[in-house]
């Protein structure tokens, strides 16, 4: 038989005012297994806790019920109390007779009846409580950053500065990401490369940072503190150890390919670095276009390379490394605006996107910073900008606001005015949103000082007329149609999740929203964490962001990762699921619904009919299990049980309150 002690708190008059606490204690003394019951004015006070500790000794109690306030308030207090009194902290149950009783039921008689019920419930449960232990796991003090854009670089620098080794895995041949493509940044108009490239170099030279470019995350196993991560280094065809980045190979390479970095407006070679300041500044061979791979002939790069670094036989290489934390910073893609046939993108070469414009205006871009339109290289005099292309459009695009387009369009109009004197910019908009430091002022300058004309309304059609593009739309403020003959049209297309975001989310076991942006653990209070412990988010992979926001979030994600890595061990939940292997049939339905990937298959051997047979059962990883109990209900046989909230405990509570 158990020896349960019941301690009823008055909470001054908070409880005693509307609940007959003495009667509750008297009734509790009559419950099965209850050997001691008393009441006290403030159970949580020092003397109150002493009452409990003394009673544990005096009455040899092995279980404790405290009837007081909400367990959400004082469960940790009373767990510590009975622990110092010599009991396992999980041998406690609380009856919430304040928030759920005395404060809401003014009728003392009825309130007392309910309070007695709640204590009976707690007493019935506590006799089925078992001592539980928190376990702890070691933490690998190394972080992985997926994506080497500005967010990923910032995260890596911050973690590395805190003294932990960091690996950046970047899909492209160089780090830098989208920010490297951008010419100037709003609202200060400082040159993007001038502030980004030093950071790239910092990252490359930091003793704690390893950059693995032209690589992807292949597989993620393990869990917080101990992720086993397989990274696929794509065949670069250039030996990174031998190459000095002298550039002879790409000067001599005969094959010209549209440059992805220049948004297909310029050319690169088949052996190339995406841009001159690339980090690492060592080329890769684009096997799809390289003559050697296509026809077996050529091989000039190999011949001219002074260090013999070119290696056509190189294959993808898989490396596996353990990490304690992961930060995802994979950035964004541009919306595929081809769904807007009326804007003529793809049909008319002079209809371009914002990122194209960035390359056209960039001094190291394909036009050396002279704004020339793609079709005939004429300098455009009249440019129409169309905003919200794909953003805020439920019918054809995305429902959300991309947050950056209002500002970069204003920036583009400013740059037009600066670079092409006497030019005219027209901007079709739905709203102008400028909620950032100095943003509204910048927009006002664009309108005033730089004379950009803002037209509120949608564009219905873009069609060619001679060498012009006629933009037909509506000025909804004046309520009349407008037509503008433009030399070039720039679409502010939406920021969307990377096309492979869903795959990466599944690899990492994190969730993503309807638009494939990764989901944070809590929109307000845990904005850089995911539901998967040890995986954090930075930058536009979580939702559209501009550079300041991405950098700020990167710092936050780094702080979270550092907080994790700074510990040598991590405590895990005590209330976790447990498998009764003898009952488990190994159907693994539990595995598929576990939100934490905490359930895995395990092969056990047992003797059946005189021979040893193997069979599969579910196995719970205690470090990963967060104790939600979803698996316990999915298991029809009841082979899974949640410690602290077992089937037995809950059924005992049900019976106790129904009596």
């Amino acid at each position: 038989m158990r020896k349960v002690g019941v301690f009823v708190c008055h909470c001054g008059s908070n409880i005693a005012g509307t609940v007959d606490v003495e009667k509750v204690a008297q009734e509790a003394a009559k419950f099965p297994n209850v050997v001691f019951a008393t009441d006290y004015k403030y159970m949580c006070s020092e003397p109150g806790q002493q009452v409990i500790k003394d009673a544990i000794k005096e009455h040899n109690l092995d279980r404790v019920v405290v009837a007081s306030c909400s367990p959400r308030m004082h469960e940790p207090t009373f767990r510590r109390c009975i622990q110092t009194g010599g009991l396992n902290p999980y041998l406690l149950e609380m009856a919430n007779i304040r928030e759920h009783c005395s404060w809401v039921h003014p009728d003392k008689a009825k309130g007392t009846v309910k309070a007695i019920d709640l204590v009976r419930k707690a007493a019935a449960k506590v006799v089925k409580n078992e001592p539980l232990q928190k376990s702890s796991i070691n933490i690998t003090k190394r972080a992985l950053v997926i994506g080497g854009g500005i967010a990923g670089i910032q995260v890596a620098l911050d973690i590395a500065d805190a003294g932990f080794p960091v690996t950046i895995v970047e899909k492209e041949p160089t780090i830098g990401g989208r920010m490297a493509q951008i010419d100037k940044t709003f609202p200060t108009l400082d040159c993007s490369a001038c502030i980004l490239t030093p950071k790239m170099v910092d990252a490359a030279q930091h003793p704690n940072i390893e950059i693995i470019s032209y690589a992807e995350v292949d597989k993620v196993e393990g869990y917080v503190g101990n992720f086993d991560i397989t990274i696929r280094k794509k065949a670069r065809s250039v030996d990174m150890n031998k190459c000095t980045g002298c550039g002879t190979c790409w000067e001599k390479c005969p094959t010209k390919v549209d440059s992805e970095f220049d948004m297909q407006l310029g050319k690169r070679k088949a052996i190339y670095t995406p841009f001159p300041q690339a980090v690492p500044n060592k080329p890769v061979i684009d096997r799809e276009h390289c003559l050697k791979f296509k026809t077996g002939k050529c091989g000039i790069c190999e011949k001219v390379c002074p260090t013999g670094a070119v290696d056509f036989t190189m294959e993808d290489e898989l490396i596996t490394q353990q990490y304690g934390a992961i930060v995802v910073a994979t950035g964004f893609d541009q919306f595929d605006h081809s769904v807007y046939g009326e804007y003529g993108y793809g049909k008319y070469p002079d209809v371009i996107t914002g990122l194209h414009f960035e390359r056209l205006v960039n001094a190291s871009g394909p036009t050396m910073g002279k704004i020339k339109r793609p079709s005939d290289h004429k300098v455009p005099e009249t440019v129409v900008f169309i905003k919200c292309v794909g953003s805020r459009d439920e019918a054809k695009g995305k429902t959300y606001c991309s947050r950056t387009c209002c500002m970069y369009t204003a920036k583009h109009a400013t740059l037009m005015a600066e670079k092409v004197k006497g030019s005219k910019s027209y901007i079709f908009y739905m709203d102008v949103r400028t909620p950032g430091k100095g943003y509204e002022e910048f927009y006002k300058r664009t309108q005033g000082e730089y004379g950009a004309q803002y037209i509120r309304g949608r564009v219905s059609k873009v069609y060619p007329k001679g060498d012009k593009l006629v933009v037909r739309g509506e000025d909804s403020l004046l309520g009349r149609p407008v037509e503008i003959e433009a030399d070039m049209v720039v679409l502010a297309s939406a920021m969307v999740a990377r096309s492979d975001a869903g795959d990466l989310a599944r690899t990492l076991g994190i969730s993503y929203d309807k638009d494939n942006f990764f989901t944070e653990a809590h929109p307000k209070l845990r904005p850089v964490e995911t539901h998967t412990a040890g995986v954090f988010l930075a930058g536009a992979c979580q939702g559209p962001k501009d550079i300041p926001d991405s950098v700020a979030q990167a710092g936050a994600a780094a702080a979270k990762a550092i907080g994790l890595l700074a510990k040598s061990q991590m405590e895990t939940e005590a209330t976790v699921s447990q498998v009764d292997e003898s009952r488990c049939s190994g159907c693994l339905l539990c595995k598929s619904i576990c939100p934490y990937k905490a359930i895995d298959v395990k092969i056990i051997a047992e003797r059946v009919g005189g021979k040893t047979v193997e069979r599969q059962v579910a196995s719970v990883n205690k470090s990963l299990c967060q104790g939600c109990g979803a698996c316990t209900v999915a298991c029809r046989a009841g082979s899974l049980n949640l410690l602290g909230f077992t089937n037995e405990q809950i059924l005992a509570e049900v019976e106790a309150v129904c009596l």
């Binding site: 009952r583 049939s585 598929s592 059946v608 029809r636 009841g638 089937n647």
Partner: protein
């Protein structure tokens, strides 16, 4: 004729040693029943038959040979094949351990004991076949015979709808009368291809999910829980109802669940494939929100 083909293919498989056993049907004591048979020797294949009385779903027998060496061949009608998929989805049967011999099924018939003359014409289809949605096997290694067309199944939920139309107390009275009869022999469970637990929640001496008393309340608990446990996993083979010694209308419970699941969460038929998880094991963000 199917029976000939069955014997040929069974003989071939056993002779070549590709399988160690063939599970099929043989003629029973009376002309109007055919019972399961387990053939391990090539010379016994002549016992195999396929006729209008091969009502038994054979799939559940595979669980008895889970740990056996080599492969087992099994004849599968439409419902048996879905049952095999179900068991594979529950990871109780491995695809490479079974050889599936598909038989398109025109529906099974029944005759009252002692019926003469010995003619199948004019006999009614058994209840479970009348509204069969998948007479053709959905998974097989070889298919014996030609695919048959699906019968009109518009009366599939007729019995359910009739019960749904009753008043609250009338429903309770009806089911009370039914469950009062239940003797909790668990035949429904034992035959069910969705019941694949090693140890049933209702057995064992661990947690008493269910009292041992045979009274209305415990019978209600048993039957409702059974319905929830097979929810989204019932393949409508109707075996539970067929084997019930007390003639409880168990398919009126199972079909109610199927009907509701389809209406609430989109069309789903259990056992059509192995990949698509049962509806209670998945969710959609846009599921109906009736609770608020």
């Amino acid at each position: 004729m199917i029976t000939e083909k069955m014997r040929d293919v069974a003989k071939d498989l056993l002779t070549k040693g590709e399988v160690n056993m063939v599970i099929g049907w043989e003629k029973g004591t009376f002309w109007y029943n055919s019972t399961p048979v387990f053939i391990t020797k090539a010379e016994d294949v002549e016992r195999l038959v396929f006729d209008e009385f091969c009502t038994n779903n054979l799939a559940k027998y595979l669980l008895d040979y889970k740990t056996a060496e080599g492969k087992v061949a099994i004849f599968v009608k439409g419902c048996d094949a879905r049952a095999v998929n179900r068991l594979m989805q529950d990871q109780q049967v491995q695809r490479d351990k079974v050889y599936l011999l598909g038989i398109p099924c025109g529906g099974m018939k029944e005759a009252a004991p002692g019926t003469q003359p010995q003619a199948t014409e004019g006999l009614p289809l058994v209840e479970k076949c009348q509204n069969c949605t998948s007479p053709n096997p959905v998974v097989f290694d070889v298919l014996l015979g030609d695919q048959v067309s699906v019968r009109d199944t518009q009366n599939r939920f007729a019995a359910v709808e009739k019960l749904e139309a009753l008043g609250t107390d009338e429903k309770y009275a009806y089911w009370g009368e039914m469950f009062d009869k239940c003797i909790r022999c668990y035949a429904c469970r034992n035959v069910c291809p969705a019941c694949s637990c090693r140890e049933c929640a209702f057995d064992g001496n661990g947690l008493n999910w269910l009292g041992k008393q045979n009274n209305l309340q415990e019978n209600q608990m048993f039957n409702i829980t059974r319905a929830m446990h097979v929810a989204g996993r019932c393949i409508e083979c109707g075996e539970c109802e067929r084997v019930c010694p007390m003639d409880l209308p168990l398919m009126a419970i199972n079909r109610k669940v199927i009907k509701d699941l389809n209406e609430l969460f989109g069309a789903y038929e259990a056992g059509m494939d192995v990949e698509n998880r049962p509806p209670l094991g998945q969710f959609k963000l846009e599921d109906p929100e009736k609770f608020m």
